[in-house]
Protein backbone atom coordinates (compact mmCIF):
# COMPACT_ATOMS: atom_id res chain seq x y z
CA UNK A 1 0.00 0.00 0.00
CA UNK A 2 1.45 3.38 -1.01
CA UNK A 3 2.00 5.86 1.80
CA UNK A 4 1.27 9.57 2.00
CA UNK A 5 3.11 11.42 -0.75
CA UNK A 6 4.31 14.98 -0.46
CA UNK A 7 6.13 17.31 -2.82
CA UNK A 8 8.42 19.05 -3.04
CA UNK A 9 10.68 17.56 -0.36
CA UNK A 10 12.69 20.76 0.00
CA UNK A 11 11.99 24.39 -0.85
CA UNK A 12 14.07 27.51 -0.33
CA UNK A 13 12.45 30.91 -0.89
CA UNK A 14 12.99 34.50 0.10
CA UNK A 15 10.68 36.27 2.53
CA UNK A 16 7.56 37.77 0.99
CA UNK A 17 7.56 35.13 -1.77
CA UNK A 18 4.78 32.58 -2.19
CA UNK A 19 5.06 28.81 -1.92
CA UNK A 20 2.73 25.84 -2.29
CA UNK A 21 2.97 22.29 -1.00
CA UNK A 22 1.13 19.27 -2.34
CA UNK A 23 -0.11 16.16 -0.53
CA UNK A 24 -1.60 12.93 -1.84
CA UNK A 25 -3.07 10.88 1.03
CA UNK A 26 -3.43 7.14 1.27
CA UNK A 27 -6.18 5.95 -1.05
CA UNK A 28 -9.54 5.79 0.70
CA UNK A 29 -8.55 7.97 3.63
CA UNK A 30 -11.26 10.52 4.28
CA UNK A 31 -9.38 12.66 6.77
CA UNK A 32 -6.34 14.76 5.89
CA UNK A 33 -4.19 16.89 8.18
CA UNK A 34 -1.49 19.52 7.67
CA UNK A 35 1.02 20.04 10.46
CA UNK A 36 3.85 22.52 10.94
CA UNK A 37 6.95 21.21 12.72
CA UNK A 38 9.48 23.86 13.69
CA UNK A 39 13.00 22.58 14.36
CA UNK A 40 13.25 21.10 17.85
CA UNK A 41 9.49 21.04 18.41
CA UNK A 42 6.63 18.62 17.98
CA UNK A 43 4.19 18.94 15.07
CA UNK A 44 1.44 21.55 15.39
CA UNK A 45 -1.87 20.95 13.64
CA UNK A 46 -2.68 23.67 11.10
CA UNK A 47 -5.82 22.29 9.47
CA UNK A 48 -7.90 19.12 9.35
CA UNK A 49 -10.13 18.11 6.42
CA UNK A 50 -12.89 15.53 6.40
CA UNK A 51 -13.34 14.71 2.71
CA UNK A 52 -13.34 18.20 1.15
CA UNK A 53 -14.70 20.04 4.19
CA UNK A 54 -12.67 21.80 6.89
CA UNK A 55 -13.07 20.26 10.37
CA UNK A 56 -10.65 22.53 12.22
CA UNK A 57 -8.44 25.39 11.10
CA UNK A 58 -8.19 27.25 14.39
CA UNK A 59 -4.37 27.29 14.34
CA UNK A 60 -3.99 28.25 10.68
CA UNK A 61 -2.65 31.83 10.24
CA UNK A 62 -5.34 32.74 7.77
CA UNK A 63 -3.83 36.07 6.80
CA UNK A 64 -1.06 34.23 4.95
CA UNK A 65 -1.85 30.51 4.92
CA UNK A 66 -4.54 28.80 2.88
CA UNK A 67 -5.35 25.18 2.18
CA UNK A 68 -7.78 23.35 0.01
CA UNK A 69 -8.78 19.78 -0.68
CA UNK A 70 -10.80 19.87 -3.85
CA UNK A 71 -12.59 16.61 -4.69
CA UNK A 72 -11.67 15.25 -1.25
CA UNK A 73 -8.42 13.61 -2.30
CA UNK A 74 -5.25 15.66 -2.90
CA UNK A 75 -4.59 18.80 -0.91
CA UNK A 76 -2.45 21.91 -1.30
CA UNK A 77 -1.16 24.23 1.40
CA UNK A 78 -0.11 27.73 0.34
CA UNK A 79 1.81 30.47 2.10
CA UNK A 80 1.59 33.98 0.70
CA UNK A 81 3.63 35.98 1.60
CA UNK A 82 6.18 33.89 3.52
CA UNK A 83 7.90 35.15 6.66
CA UNK A 84 11.19 34.04 8.20
CA UNK A 85 9.32 32.30 11.04
CA UNK A 86 7.54 30.04 8.52
CA UNK A 87 10.77 28.05 8.15
CA UNK A 88 9.74 24.55 9.23
CA UNK A 89 8.86 21.07 8.02
CA UNK A 90 5.29 20.85 6.76
CA UNK A 91 3.86 17.40 7.35
CA UNK A 92 0.77 15.96 5.75
CA UNK A 93 -1.04 13.04 7.36
CA UNK A 94 -4.14 11.03 6.58
CA UNK A 95 -6.42 8.65 8.43
CA UNK A 96 -9.31 6.42 7.42
CA UNK A 97 -11.79 8.55 9.33
CA UNK A 98 -11.74 11.21 12.04
CA UNK A 99 -13.07 8.80 14.64
CA UNK A 100 -11.31 8.09 17.90
CA UNK A 101 -8.10 6.05 17.81
CA UNK A 102 -7.84 6.19 14.04
CA UNK A 103 -4.15 5.97 13.21
CA UNK A 104 -2.69 8.94 11.38
CA UNK A 105 -0.16 8.07 8.67
CA UNK A 106 2.40 10.77 7.96
CA UNK A 107 4.19 11.71 4.79
CA UNK A 108 7.92 12.55 4.75
CA UNK A 109 7.27 16.28 4.91
CA UNK A 110 8.40 19.34 2.97
CA UNK A 111 11.29 21.25 4.52
CA UNK A 112 10.79 24.98 3.90
CA UNK A 113 13.58 27.49 4.40
CA UNK A 114 12.67 31.17 4.20
CA UNK A 115 15.68 33.49 3.74
Amino acid sequence: EAGVAQSPRYKIIEKRQSVAFWCNPISGHATLYWYQQILGQGPKLLIQFQNNGVVDDSQLPKDRFSAERLKGVDSTLKIQPAKLEDSAVYLCASSLTSGSYNEQFFGPGTRLTVL
Binding site: G42, P43, F106, G107, P108
Partner: protein, 111 residues
Protein backbone atom coordinates in the same frame (compact mmCIF):
# COMPACT_ATOMS: atom_id res chain seq x y z
CA UNK B 1 3.54 26.70 27.44
CA UNK B 2 2.81 23.40 25.71
CA UNK B 3 -0.19 21.32 26.64
CA UNK B 4 2.02 18.23 26.73
CA UNK B 5 5.46 18.53 28.32
CA UNK B 6 8.02 15.87 27.50
CA UNK B 7 11.16 15.19 29.50
CA UNK B 8 13.98 14.96 29.06
CA UNK B 9 14.32 16.93 25.84
CA UNK B 10 17.60 15.20 24.98
CA UNK B 11 19.04 11.88 26.08
CA UNK B 12 22.33 10.31 25.06
CA UNK B 13 23.08 6.83 26.40
CA UNK B 14 25.22 3.79 25.70
CA UNK B 15 23.88 0.65 24.06
CA UNK B 16 22.42 -1.72 26.64
CA UNK B 17 21.25 0.95 29.08
CA UNK B 18 17.65 1.42 30.16
CA UNK B 19 15.78 4.71 29.91
CA UNK B 20 12.42 6.31 30.63
CA UNK B 21 10.81 9.21 28.81
CA UNK B 22 7.95 11.16 30.36
CA UNK B 23 4.94 12.98 28.93
CA UNK B 24 2.99 15.17 31.36
CA UNK B 25 -0.03 17.43 31.24
CA UNK B 26 -2.63 19.04 33.48
CA UNK B 27 -5.32 18.04 30.98
CA UNK B 28 -7.17 14.74 30.78
CA UNK B 29 -6.84 12.91 27.48
CA UNK B 30 -9.26 10.42 25.94
CA UNK B 31 -6.28 8.66 24.40
CA UNK B 32 -2.56 9.13 24.12
CA UNK B 33 -0.21 8.00 21.39
CA UNK B 34 3.55 7.61 21.13
CA UNK B 35 5.35 8.17 17.83
CA UNK B 36 8.95 7.78 16.71
CA UNK B 37 10.34 10.10 14.05
CA UNK B 38 13.62 9.66 12.18
CA UNK B 39 15.42 12.48 10.32
CA UNK B 40 13.77 13.34 7.02
CA UNK B 41 10.70 11.26 7.73
CA UNK B 42 7.28 11.72 9.26
CA UNK B 43 6.35 10.33 12.68
CA UNK B 44 5.39 6.65 12.84
CA UNK B 45 2.86 5.43 15.40
CA UNK B 46 4.23 3.07 18.06
CA UNK B 47 1.24 2.64 20.37
CA UNK B 48 -2.12 4.05 21.45
CA UNK B 49 -3.18 3.89 25.11
CA UNK B 50 -6.77 4.54 26.07
CA UNK B 51 -7.54 3.34 29.60
CA UNK B 52 -6.13 4.94 32.76
CA UNK B 53 -3.41 2.71 34.21
CA UNK B 54 -3.02 0.81 30.96
CA UNK B 55 0.36 -0.77 30.21
CA UNK B 56 1.35 -1.90 26.73
CA UNK B 57 4.52 -3.65 25.65
CA UNK B 58 6.13 -3.58 22.24
CA UNK B 59 9.25 -5.81 22.37
CA UNK B 60 11.70 -3.81 24.54
CA UNK B 61 9.39 -0.79 24.82
CA UNK B 62 6.87 -0.46 27.66
CA UNK B 63 4.21 2.26 27.57
CA UNK B 64 2.11 3.31 30.53
CA UNK B 65 -0.89 5.64 30.71
CA UNK B 66 -1.38 7.37 34.05
CA UNK B 67 -4.37 6.46 36.19
CA UNK B 68 -5.87 9.93 35.72
CA UNK B 69 -5.11 9.89 31.95
CA UNK B 70 -2.99 13.05 32.29
CA UNK B 71 0.46 11.57 31.83
CA UNK B 72 2.34 8.73 30.19
CA UNK B 73 5.76 7.15 30.16
CA UNK B 74 7.84 5.18 27.71
CA UNK B 75 10.48 2.81 29.07
CA UNK B 76 13.08 1.20 26.83
CA UNK B 77 15.02 -1.79 28.11
CA UNK B 78 18.51 -2.52 26.81
CA UNK B 79 18.52 0.30 24.28
CA UNK B 80 20.06 -0.33 20.87
CA UNK B 81 21.45 2.13 18.28
CA UNK B 82 18.37 1.43 16.17
CA UNK B 83 16.25 3.07 18.89
CA UNK B 84 17.84 6.42 18.07
CA UNK B 85 15.27 9.01 17.05
CA UNK B 86 12.76 11.62 18.18
CA UNK B 87 10.04 10.23 20.44
CA UNK B 88 6.79 12.19 20.45
CA UNK B 89 3.73 11.81 22.61
CA UNK B 90 0.40 13.09 21.33
CA UNK B 91 -2.94 13.31 23.09
CA UNK B 92 -6.54 13.51 21.95
CA UNK B 93 -8.64 15.76 24.20
CA UNK B 94 -12.10 14.61 23.22
CA UNK B 95 -13.92 12.45 20.74
CA UNK B 96 -12.22 12.18 17.41
CA UNK B 97 -8.54 11.87 16.68
CA UNK B 98 -7.38 15.49 16.58
CA UNK B 99 -3.98 15.34 18.25
CA UNK B 100 -1.85 17.72 20.32
CA UNK B 101 1.83 16.81 20.26
CA UNK B 102 4.47 17.24 22.92
CA UNK B 103 7.83 18.80 22.13
CA UNK B 104 9.58 15.45 21.80
CA UNK B 105 12.54 13.66 23.35
CA UNK B 106 15.56 13.25 21.12
CA UNK B 107 17.27 9.96 21.96
CA UNK B 108 20.72 8.93 20.83
CA UNK B 109 21.99 5.44 21.60
CA UNK B 110 25.72 5.04 21.08
CA UNK B 111 27.19 1.64 20.17
Amino acid sequence: TQLLEQSPQFLSIQEGENLTVYCNSSSVFSSLQWYRQEPGEGPVLLVTVVTGGEVKKLKRLTFQFGDARKDSSLHITAAQPGDTGLYLCAGALGAGNMLTFGGGTRLMVKP
